[in-house]
């Protein structure tokens, strides 16, 4: 039964990770760079949500929506001012710029909020008990459902809508998409919005589920990078599966490993994947 608990923890963490990693991978595919600032966008979502919920006493759902909107606007502003002007320089310059953005966000949030971890003081969620063990709480169910719903919605967006198809066209060949009359700038903005909304949502969920601490962004980006590699950096569905697996593997490792090694488990997995199967578990994208 304890094992089932670990499994549930893993599934929940994996769900949150999924929301973060999917957006990261979409940016990787269409904008062609590793966005190191993605973890900080999650932190931003968490801290905005905290601000609207705790000091401003708004309803939790309203606070979450406002946090997502605010984070998305900030992210789009960074995109317009910082990323787009140097797009032509290529992926490596964008990667380092995103490191700069990550430090700006991290530094600004630490300067304003200080180092103290914050918590959303929500009512303790109802627990479902099986055989004397609290197996899953309503909050955990909510997180899993939100992640699953987002994944399904994203799937239909990418396969059924014109805009979604344009996104896929652009991610497989930027110039061909442009030649065929796709407004690459507009599509790129849509991808950024999707990615930012998911990141902020993940951040808010992380804040409600655990605590908001200022190093969260860096911790998350490491897991996101790992999950992205495990799933194949470009493939959206591979990445979804990989995030869940990664979350579960990390929590279940507690059974036979020192809990302090939880995140190291993620890195050991990706080291093995990179050495033995560098194209990721579900293939996809350019190998190596």
């Amino acid at each position: 039964m304890e094992y089932l608990q670990y499994f549930v923890f893993g599934l929940v963490n994996g769900s949150i990770l999924l929301l973060g990693t999917v957006g990261f991978s979409m940016i990787r595919r269409t904008e062609n760079f590793l966005n190191i600032a993605h973890g900080q966008y999650m932190l931003m979502g968490a801290i905005f949500g905290y601000t609207f919920y705790e000091p401003l006493h708004l309803n939790l759902v309203v606070a979450a929506v406002l946090a997502i909107v605010a984070t998305t606007l900030m992210g789009l502003a960074f995109n317009a001012v910082v990323f787009r002007p140097i797009r032509a320089h290529g992926g490596l310059y964008l990667l380092f710029t995103s490191v700069g953005v990550a430090y700006v966000i991290h530094g600004a949030i630490e300067a304003i909020y200080g180092f103290t971890p914050r918590a959303y003081h929500t009512a303790p969620p109802a627990q479902i008990w099986i055989a004397g063990y609290p197996i899953i709480s309503s909050l955990q169910i909510l997180i899993i459902v939100v992640a699953a719903a987002s994944a399904v919605a994203l799937h239909f967006f990418l396969t059924r809508s014109r805009m979604g198809m344009a996104v896929r066209a652009m991610s497989s060949d930027y110039f061909l998409a442009q030649v065929r009359g796709i407004h690459t700038n507009r599509v790129s903005t849509v991808v950024w919005i999707v990615s930012l909304v998911l990141a902020a949502l993940a951040g808010v969920l992380l804040g409600i589920y655990g605590t908001v601490y200022t190093d969260m962004g860096w911790a998350m980006i490491l897991l996101i990078l790992s999950a992205a590699v495990l799933g194949g950096v470009g493939s959206i569905y591979g990445v979804m599966v990989a995030s869940l697996l990664m979350g579960i593997a990390m929590e279940m490792s507690v059974i036979f490993l020192n809990p302090a090694y939880k995140s190291a488990v993620a890195f050991i997995i990706i080291m093995l994947v990179l050495v033995f199967k560098p194209e990721g578990i579900l293939g996809g994208g350019e190998a190596r």
Partner: protein, 345 residues
Amino acid sequence: MNLGVFISGVVIVVAIYAIQTLSLNLKFGETGLIDLGLVGYFAVGAYAFALVTVPPPGATDNYAIGLGWPLWAGFLIAPVVAGIFSLLVGLPALRLRGDYLAIATYAFAEVVRAIFTNETKLANGVVGFTNLRQPWRDSFESGVRYQYFFMGLVLVVLLLLFLGLKRFRLGPFGRSIRSIRENEPVALSVGKDVVRMKLKSFVLGGVLAGLSACFYVTFQSLIVPRSFVPEMTWMVWIALTIGGTGNYLGAIVGTTVLVGAQEATRLIPSSPSTAPAIAASRLLIMGIILILIIRFRPRGILPERPWIDRSPVPAGGSVPQAVPSAAEVAEVAAKQGRSTDTIVD
């Protein structure tokens, strides 16, 4: 605060980081390897140094090994250990390219930190080691004088490494690794052992990181796993990007600008209420400098200069414009009294 002490302290930190930036310039600037695990080799070097030089564990200590050897042994062994660790990382990781190499090396460094943090037997866990010995400390009465001496020591080492690497750059090894960076298939097609060259550059970079770590540990006189966070890796990358990728002097200039700007914030008088904001401003400064440099001077303050062949043109002869024919090569070879294959090489 004594300004001389402050400045010499900053110079020492700059020089220690600059050694790492030089090592990154060798790996990335020259060879084109995107290594995000710099802090890993540094940590391995630092701990190797500590374990070689700390006294054997007493009854109350948790760590298992302490050789208690003299400091010079630490300075010799730590870079070697860091180099061996680089080799172990490089053998599997260098098969990967671009983003994947970046992520793999990042992961290695995090695993290293997790091990040093949690394996108390190996490296005393989160407590680390304190009160480490410093070279020639006993010859100086005052701490201030010793700090000036230490500054001179680090600067001399930095200068030697700088000159050595500059020299290296012009030699066959330097030209080979740059050819790999520019166009790997071409390098391969002219018979360069690409894998071996990459590995050499990678391991040499690791050795330099280990050497830098020795100075770091002796200067701080303490070592805790908390120091070896990815932020250190990013610092070095940012310093190189600011200074100019591919230019060793740029690497030093970039480190000076970045570390100098950060350390300058220590001069701001702080109170307990403003201290967190000032600490956070160091991150902000780092981010803003990086963004601005990439935006307005993407090749850095001192961009890489293209390599120019300065060998004298023989009197009356002209610089060959196209690939010389076999006959021409043979003719030149005959003039210089060499066999043809050495010229083609």
